[in-house]
Symmetry: C2
Subunit: 194 residues, 2 copies
């Protein structure tokens, strides 16, 4: 009965099997088509165990992508202050997360998103449905015009992540957070205000 005391090694294997099944299912069927039931079957476990380990499907998706933060938690915090200063708040929050060790793990996943069509498709759906549309809704913007504005913001954020963390172009790679907050924040606010 050694296995019952302390952390059971089997747990880690089961978690990884669920994450691998989730990545396959999300890539093949998209966020909506990939059900917890399908993912559980792919990992050979009971659906209840998937919920037990990872919570909701959104939370499982974030774990599968090694996302450093849950946008659904962070977005409302950034939006809560209204449009004034929103760019500065967003850039400061993003850089603090991406500069952390959690960000390093996410960079590895991002790199594969650029070279792997399946991961790019997951990323695309996640960006549009789970991030951009939440921002449009949270700010009460027109769905069409708002989505264009949000995608402009997204492109600037993607570019900063690419330059600072992936290609590591100087001086952006080692610029102080507040320098980038002051330069990029107003751009993001302008994009959102149209």
């Amino acid at each position: 009965m050694v296995g019952r005391s302390g952390r059971r090694p089997g747990n880690q294997d089961t978690r990884e099997a669920i994450l691998a099944a989730a990545r396959s299912a999300f890539a093949e069927r998209g966020m909506d088509g990939a059900t917890i039931r399908v993912i559980a079957a792919g990992a050979g476990v009971d659906p209840a165990l998937v919920h037990h380990y990872f919570g909701t499907k959104d939370q499982l998706f974030l774990a599968a992508m090694r996302a450093p933060i849950d946008p659904l938690t962070i977005i409302p915090l950034v939006l809560a202050g209204g449009l004034d200063g929103i760019g500065e708040r967003l850039v400061r929050m993003l850089l603090s997360v991406w500069d952390s060790p959690a960000g390093e793990a996410a960079v590895a996943v991002l790199r594969s998103a650029f070279s792997n069509d399946d991961i790019a498709a997951m990323m695309r759906e996640f960006i549009v449905n789970r991030i951009l549309k939440q921002v449009v809704k949270g700010l009460g913007l027109d769905p069409v015009e708002g989505l264009l504005r949000a995608s402009l913001v997204g492109s600037q954020i993607a570019g900063v992540i690419t330059f600072r963390y992936i290609i590591k172009v100087e001086p952006m790679a080692s610029a102080p957070v507040e320098t980038l907050v002051a330069r990029i924040g107003p751009t993001i606010e302008t994009y959102l205000k149209g």
Copy 2:
């Protein structure tokens, strides 16, 4: 003597061997360390043949990266009109190139730049030394402040390329060129003016 009439198949193999040797050399030694002599030795050909096929080392680099355009040709054209309207001109020119078939070939190389450290290193050196510093010099900006401004512009361009061509996030992926020119152009001008 069949091989002497028409296009000799050996030429294509030689060109590809030179390009492969160039990619290795640029990745291992950087743009300055990789000489034509080293690249020629890597491909097992005479240095004169490298010049004959590809011209200067900069041109060989662009060919090795499958760059859709030569920045050294385009940058002076964009800078020639001065700072006013520079953002619109830059975005219009970039999108017209990247929307073309030449852009499609470049997207494949870019994708590998994100997942391969050697290609990322080549890309980093190319962006800083062959693009950003040329812009700073061409506009007569302060070398330190100017490089920060140019890297902000570069990050926005990199983000647009990522969203429109690599991850294909809508509505940016299929937005009309002039829509993006009107939205992103002023941002780029603001970044450059500081």
